[in-house]
């Protein structure tokens, strides 16, 4: 979604993206974008493949967010996830899962 910007309008687009990220609001409860991704079967398989540390960090962030949501509060501003800190940790695994699934589908067509 946010990775195919041309270099020419770089600064403008970057500003827009940062604004959109903050407006989306999930960073206020300490989540990263990949924590909020909808869990379909590809994502479930990619999550299964996460290394243990990354998976544990994700679980911690989700638990903290659920707790905040129950208390109807948000984190103090210093603890909000910054746009620069948001790592797309699931993306390589998800890409690989989708590539494998497509390969299987290609073979089944033959």
């Amino acid at each position: 979604m946010a990775s195919r910007a041309p270099a020419a309008t770089g600064r403008l687009l970057l500003g827009f993206r940062k604004w959109y990220y903050n407006a989306a609001g999930f960073n206020k409860i300490g989540l990263m974008r990949d924590d909020t991704i909808h869990e379909d079967s590809d994502v479930k398989e990619a999550l299964r493949r996460l290394p243990e540390r990354v998976y544990n960090d994700r679980m911690f962030r989700l638990k903290r967010a659920i707790d905040l949501s129950m208390k109807h509060t948000i984190l103090p501003k210093e603890q909000w996830t910054k746009y620069g800190e948001d790592v797309r940790y699931l993306e390589p695994y998800l890409k690989e899962v989708i590539r494998e699934r497509k390969e299987m589908e290609e073979w089944s067509k033959k």
Binding site: R48, R49, E100, E103, W107
Partner: protein
């Protein structure tokens, strides 16, 4: 290079590349070709930290590599009607592919990928754990496997005492790093051989030069096997007692090894006729005088690169176990006193027949060529081997039997061991 025209000639070619890789091929004019990559990476090269890694490697042969995903390897090999398999012994690992001659390029690509560039993705490796358990459960069904693993554990201090199967405490704990390290240290060019049946030698040579020299050198040297002579007893509820008593034998390729093989056939190396009386087996004839219960006995002979084991393997009813084992040992002692010419000739013929029959199938032939290529970098023709067998004299056979009688014994038994003697009581 000798290229045959007209009359078919079965010429073996063996080349040793500067990197140490040995390439051997035989054009057998068969419609199906078979290629194997042999590596000196059996379970004897496992260290105390990575016990069980070769078991995992055996199961990981179909996992994703840098060039192809696991799915693609499976479907690709199936699509050309071929097969990809891996066998490992205590000394070597053998990856082999076979398929119709025309499709050999496809499967060769997968074979090279599997042996040189596996990725061992962490989730794929941890998915192997149930398969390890299944392997171990299947092995546990078979008492012979347990006894032979226990025998090696009892007989050696290191190297050859490692089991072919992953030990219980390592199931689920062998990870991708162990496997990568093992490959880095052991799958080096100097310890590999590329063998082909029904493949052009030049093609193999090209493949060997281009793809199989990723890791050069000798890698980590294995330790020399130290024989110690011990005993392992597994008392369980089985009414049949399996017992193996051995002492140190001969290393592969020595004249002594040939004498041990002949002695093995004099004593009895398995029945030749189903439900027959096994009349040429000295062990069977001798033990039949000691007990009326059903039993089975054969001579056990194993040859490794720097050591060997020779002795007897008996299966008997638990009450008669002591009599059977003592009678069997008695027969070997009798052989140490001298063997008759008739027995010697009979055993030599049986050994020759067994050897030649093992070369009849393409798996057996590939295995023989590969093991010889790894062990010595050459190929001994069947005629040369038959001559060696013929040159074994009665004295060398008697000396081999003496070596067993005088040597420090190792023993492994399983079953209801109430009447089974300890190794020092034999």
């Amino acid at each position: 290079l000798k290229v045959s025209t007209g009359c078919h000639s079965y010429q073996e070619f063996v080349t040793k590349l500067p990197s140490g890789l040995v390439i051997a091929s035989l054009e057998n004019y068969s419609p199906a070709s078979r290629i194997g990559v042999f590596v000196k990476a059996g379970c004897r090269y496992e260290s105390l930290e990575n016990q069980g890694v070769t078991h995992l490697l055996r199961l990981a042969a179909n996992l994703t590599t840098k060039g192809a995903s696991a799915f693609r390897i499976c479907r690709g090999v199936e699509a050309v009607g071929g097969s990809l398999g891996v066998t490992s012994s205590r000394e070597n690992m053998m990856y082999s592919v076979d398929c119709l001659r025309d499709h050999i390029d496809t499967v060769m690509e997968y074979l090279i990928n599997v042996t040189t560039a596996p990725e061992f993705r962490p989730w794929e490796v941890s998915d192997l754990t149930p398969r390890v358990r299944v392997d171990k459960a299947l092995a546990a069904q078979n008492p012979q496997v347990g006894v032979i693993e226990a025998l090696h554990e009892a007989a050696y201090k290191n190297a050859l005492s490692n089991s072919l199967f992953c030990p219980d405490y390592m199931v689920g704990h062998v990870n991708a790093d162990h496997m990568h390290n093992f490959i880095e240290n052991n799958f080096t060019s100097a310890r590999m051989a590329l063998v082909g049946l029904g493949v052009d030698h030049r093609v193999l040579k090209q493949v060997g030069e281009q793809f199989l020299n990723i890791r050069s050198g000798v890698g980590a040297t294995g330790s020399k096997a130290q024989y110690r002579g011990g005993e392992v007893r597994e008392h369980n509820g089985s009414s049949l007692v399996h017992s193996a008593v051995v002492s140190e034998g001969a290393a592969v390729g020595t004249d002594e090894a040939m004498a041990f093989s002949v002695l093995q056939h004099i004593l009895g190396a398995g029945p030749h006729i189903k439900r027959g009386s096994n009349s040429t087996s000295k062990l069977t004839q001798g033990i039949a005088k000691a007990t009326a219960d059903p039993f089975d006995a054969s001579a056990f002979n194993a040859n490794y690169s720097d050591s060997g084991l020779f002795g007897i393997y008996t299966i008997s009813q638990s009450a008669a176990a002591g009599d059977v084992i003592n009678a069997a040992i008695g027969q070997v002692k009798a052989a140490a006193g001298g063997v008759s010419e008739a027995d010697l000739t009979c055993a030599k013929t049986q050994l020759k027949a067994e050897y030649l029959m093992s070369l009849e199938s393409s798996e057996g032939l590939l295995d023989a060529m590969g093991s010889q290529a790894l062990a010595g970098g050459t190929y001994h023709t069947p005629e040369a081997v038959l001559q060696k067998i013929d040159s074994v004299s009665a004295t060398s056979v008697a000396n081999a039997a003496k070596k067993f009688v005088l040597g420090k014994k190792s023993m492994a038994s399983s079953g209801n061991l109430i009447k089974t003697p300890f190794v020092d009581e034999i």
